[in-house]
């Protein structure tokens, strides 16, 4: 497997505060890689260094075979960036934004217009094409942002928290778009705060915490052995709770809320098996909810401390 991105010993500090403390990553060409971590972990800084926007203090970063410090122009020619820090032109229409990108990629007028029309259609923006971006919703703006990135047909795409703040429908659309890109052979480097997003999209995940990679591997490898997944059974009365606890054994009892927490992977098969074990006692259940491990659980399991977001003061220094 050839590498699209290799990072070794990457370090960066802003004003004395260490943001990246020697990270190593390798992303195979044509795969989806997710950098997962809370706010202030250093995700955006990593993307900014790979995008040639920020210089590293130490270490080596190669993107598409080129060193970002020595040959930034060649890196820029290979990448597309859609992120929290990059943006669209709010004073232009959606179509004008895409045509601007086409001009900057030196496409001919005809090819540029064809490309813009195709992307407007693909991203469900054809109706709003002639409206200025200031009138767009958050989801539309994010779709336009990604569409602008795709005008130049980049082989490596950096997506910095592409779904943060999106409604569920826009989020699913974004996921589908990412899958389509990977099917076309594009390499995706995705940062996210959401485990389920990394889980759904990535071939490999690296967990970033306070500027260091605390864990890396496939989603399955990472989730293995992480406690926190359980089924929660709520009962109408103490009698039901008692009966169920006797039937199951090993469940964790919450007296005040009349609930039982049963360790489980939360899948349909496991839930059905659980209810079968309860037999008639299951009739006493008031409600069933499934709790899957989230980023907090993963963090707690791997780092021994909960996700601590950098304070506002720190964020200002960092960003």
């Amino acid at each position: 497997m050839t590498s699209a991105i290799t990072i070794s010993g990457l370090r960066k500090s802003f004003g004395g505060k260490v943001v990246l403390d020697g990270i190593d990553l390798e992303v195979g060409a044509g795969t989806t890689f997710s950098l997962l971590g809370p706010n202030g972990a250093g995700k955006t800084t990593t993307v900014q260094i790979m995008s040639t926007l920020v210089r590293a203090d130490g270490g080596e970063v190669r993107v598409a075979g080129h060193d970002v410090a020595r040959n930034p122009a060649a890196v820029r020619a290979a990448i597309g960036v859609t992120g929290q820090f990059s943006a669209v032109d709010n004073l232009l229409t959606g179509e004008e934004n895409l045509l601007l990108m086409a001009d900057l990629h030196h496409l001919s007028r005809v090819r540029g217009q064809r490309r813009a029309a195709g992307l407007l259609e693909k991203f469900d923006l054809a109706e709003a094409a002639k409206k200025t971006v200031t009138t767009y919703s958050g989801g539309m703006r994010r779709r336009l942002d990604l569409a602008m990135t795709l005008v130049g047909d980049p082989r490596i795409i950096f997506l910095d928290e592409p779904t943060t703040g999106l409604d569920p429908r826009s989020r699913r659309m974004m996921w589908q778009t990412i899958r389509d890109l990977v099917a076309d052979g594009v390499t995706i480097f995705l940062t996210t705060q959401q485990l389920d997003e990394a889980d759904a999209l990535a071939d490999h995940i690296a967990l970033l915490d306070h500027g260091t990679v605390v864990a890396a591997g496939s989603p399955e490898e990472l989730k293995r052995g992480i406690p926190g997944a359980h089924v929660r059974l709520r009962f109408a009365d103490v009698a039901g709770l008692d009966a169920a606890e006797r039937a199951l054994g090993g469940a964790f009892r919450h007296e005040d809320t009349l609930t039982l927490e049963v360790p489980s992977d939360g899948g349909a098969t496991a839930v059905r098996a659980l209810l079968n074990r309860l037999g008639d006692t299951a009739d006493a259940i008031d409600g069933v909810s499934v709790h899957t491990p989230n980023l907090d659980d993963v963090f707690f399991a791997l780092t021994g401390h909960p996700t601590t977001e950098a304070t506002d003061d720190e964020m200002e220094n960092v960003q």
């Binding site: 900014q48 995008s51 040639t52 926007l53 920020v54 210089r55 122009a73 820029r76 020619a77 990448i79 597309g80 960036v81 820090f85 990059s86 943006a87 669209v88 032109d89 709010n90 004073l91 232009l92 004008e96 601007l100 001009d103 900057l104 990629h105 030196h106 200025t132 602008m148 130049g152 960003q319």
Partner: protein, 260 residues
């Protein structure tokens, strides 16, 4: 295409983008003409009549005196619009996007500067047109008009390149208020409305030596009087110096790490 041809093409693209902003929100252009014209009316109407009631100069003579200062104020107002527009690009992140693309890096700022030059020169032409409508009678011949255009273009270029780094440096639009205040207030303490030798003490020294004064005096000489070579040289030197300083500072700011 060669690198130079690509750079020219990218600059043209960026210029079109900026000009499209101007056309989309023409109110900016209207305000940049209306504000100087209001000042012109204020000075000739209110303060001008005070002067003539004291027997100093006639209304038309004072109008002729004030117009060059108003031209400079139009250029100053134009540069504050430029600073705001660059600041918006910088804080909203579109400059970050441009910097991740394989384009000529210089084109990003060139586009702003070229369109600012076009926009501000159009404002100045409209302001001169209105003042002629109000009774301003320049005596310049074609050659001097050309020189007026040249000096004005140089001034706008200098103020624009000064606006660029301020626009890039400010973290918010509010952070620009200092630049805007200074660039719009400085012409008041120059030879724009009153000859500096009628001022007193340190104000007089400042008005006589600040950069706007030789530019205003040169324009005044070209439009309605006798041009003075020494003053023109001072005006050109000031403008070239400010433009160069602004350009170099802007280049440093543009290449530094993105700050968000």
């Amino acid at each position: 295409m060669t690198t130079l041809a690509f750079a020219a093409r990218d600059s043209a693209t960026m210029t079109r983008r900026s000009l499209r902003h101007v056309l989309r929100y023409p109110v900016t252009l209207v305000v940049s003409v209306v504000v100087p014209v209001m000042l012109l009316l204020l000075f000739t109407g209110v303060f001008g009549s005070l002067r003539s009631s004291l027997g100093a100069v006639s209304h038309s003579a004072y109008l002729a005196y004030v117009v060059p200062g108003i031209i400079v104020m139009t250029a100053a107002y134009g540069s504050s619009v430029t600073a705001q527009s660059i600041n918006r690009d910088s804080t909203e992140g579109i400059i970050a996007r441009f910097r991740t693309m394989a384009i000529s890096p210089a084109s990003v700022l060139n586009g702003h500067v070229i369109s600012a030059l076009a926009r501000t020169l159009l404002s100045v032409a409209l302001v001169i047109g209105v003042s002629i409508g109000l009774g301003f009678r320049p005596t310049a011949d074609a050659g001097r008009w050309l020189a007026v255009a040249g000096v004005t273009a140089l001034l706008v270029l200098a103020l624009t390149w000064l606006a660029v780094p301020f626009g890039l440096a400010a973290k918010t639009a509010e952070g620009l208020s200092g630049f805007i205040l200074i660039v719009q207030l400085l012409p008041f303490i120059s030879s724009a409305f009153v000859p500096p030798d009628q001022m007193s003490g340190s104000v007089r020294w400042f008005a006589a030596h600040q950069p706007f004064t030789p530019v205003i005096d040169t324009l005044r000489g070209l439009l309605t009087g006798t041009a003075d070579g020494g003053t023109a040289l001072a005006a050109v030197a000031w403008c070239a110096g400010i433009a160069l300083a602004g350009y170099l500072w802007a280049r440093v700011l543009f290449r530094r790490d993105i700050s968000r």
